[in-house]
Amino acid sequence: MTVLPTRHDEAWRYSDIDALARAWPLPAPESIIVPAGGTFARTIIQDSGTIHQLDIAIGKGATAAIHVLNTGGDYGRVELNVTLHEGADFKLGAVQIGGGTQTLEVITTVTHAEPGATSSQIVRSVLAGTATGTYLGKVAVARDAQQTDSVQSVKAMLLDRSATANAKPELEIYADDVKCAHGCAIGELDAMGLFYLQARGITPAEAKKLMLQAFVAGVFEGAADEAMLIEAALAKLGDLV
């Protein structure tokens, strides 16, 4: 892309275009090719307001797992363009935690190009202040990609009524024997749960943190640096509550 996108471009619809302009032009996306039968894992910690663009091609029977902690800067974006070949597997676990006027987004296009591939995307956003958190996730299933199994689970927790969550799981399916599950929920912390924790002596901030920890727990399961990711997420949550 050579021209600065506008909000009319679907993939940039909720983006911070001013922040994007400062980073423009973007370097070419990082290209990753996972050979047939191979495994690939990457942890992306976005804590300084940067844009990560990855093109990932996953070969026959290969697997790729990406874990994302998107927390920093005015504008942080992680964009993944994934192509799955026969029997390949892709897993994404992403947590976005933002406050103030931050704009954080995870944008994915997952193409099941051949039969029997599986993909799973779990995205959890925690947003305070007037922050905006976005997930746009397209799953495209090619005509021949029978026995595709794909899951998208997207949840956002708003700590303030002034925060914004956008969630758009999107399916484009040309095969007729596929499983494509998608779930999406945006909510607030349960007031009765918070009161219950406080009635047992836990401070309001710790009570929120405990419930948010539960909300994001599990997303980093299987990551090589799971403990570090959870600790970094908790530190950011601690700043927000």
């Binding site: 349960d190 007031a191 009765m192 749960g193 009161f195 219950y196 924790l197 406080q198 009635a199 047992r200 002596g201 836990i202 401070t203 309001p204 710790e206 009570a207 405990l210 419930m211 920890q213 539960a214 909300f215 727990a217 599990g218």
Partner: protein, 247 residues
């Protein structure tokens, strides 16, 4: 220990408590009975500081402190425990983590050293054992997938671990079968029947009072205490009903 004086409270715009006066001394167990909608649960929530329950008049003193000036977690640290009528499910947070954080938050507030993991587990194991609860259940998320009876039993395990000075137990007997009722009753006596503690039992029925004998029974009706008596009053209510009493 607890002095409630002319307490008025609203839920939303609706007045529920209308001049409630009640005094509990250390070593006493009081039962509050009354018809549906009398304000029994509201009293428990107001005393523990639930948001949305607004005190419009009156005062509450707990061990010499202005209870109403404290936040819910500060009331807990000061020694007040509310046993919930409907214990809340908290997915993703284990009982053990929740209780250890709760206990240590209270200890920190009181300027006491936190319990180590080992010390805490010892206390938790004792209390769970005394109430016939499997330690495996304590490792599960708070109340998630627990039956009604298990939730109430869990409230009592929590009470045993936290070891409060004053327990307000809101219909802890509802949803319990006969055996569980006896276990819970024994638990209340074991944990709370002490010279330096007090209990406010909110209940609809006399049957829990067979196990936990109250020193005083109060009738709460229309947002105020309309009658006070000894344990016999509960039997009288069971026999004649609230209507008869009001007549």
């Amino acid at each position: 220990m607890l002095q409630i004086n002319n307490l008025h409270a609203n839920v939303g715009d609706k007045p529920i408590l209308k001049g409630l006066t009640l005094s509990l001394n250390a070593g006493e167990i009081h039962a509050i009975m009354g018809p549906n909608g009398a304000g029994k649960s509201t009293l428990g929530y107001v005393l523990s500081g639930r948001p949305g329950y607004e005190v419009t008049e009156g005062s509450v003193t707990f061990n010499g402190q202005d209870l109403l000036a404290l936040e819910p977690h500060e009331r807990a640290a000061a020694g007040l425990f509310l046993g919930f009528q409907y214990p809340v499910e908290i997915p993703g947070v284990s009982n053990v983590q929740f209780l250890r954080e709760a206990l240590n938050a209270q200890r920190k507030y009181r300027g006491e050293a936190p319990l180590t993991g080992g010390e805490f587990l010892k206390v938790a194991r004792e209390q769970a054992g005394a109430l016939g609860m499997d330690m495996e259940m304590l490792k599960r998320p708070v109340n998630v997938g627990f039956s009604g009876g298990e939730k109430k039993r869990n409230e009592m395990v929590q009470m045993g671990i936290i070891d409060p000075a004053l327990a307000i137990l809101d219909e802890t007997d509802s949803g319990l079968d006969i055996d569980a009722l006896r276990t819970v009753g024994d638990g209340i006596n074991r944990i709370m029947r002490k010279p330096d503690k007090a209990v406010l039992l909110i209940t609809h029925y006399q049957r829990l009072l067979d196990y936990v004998k109250p020193d005083f029974v109060h009738v709460l009706d229309g947002g105020r205490i309309t009658r006070t008596g000894g344990a016999d009053l509960a039997l009288e209510l069971e026999r004649d009903g609230y209507k008869e009493l009001a007549a």
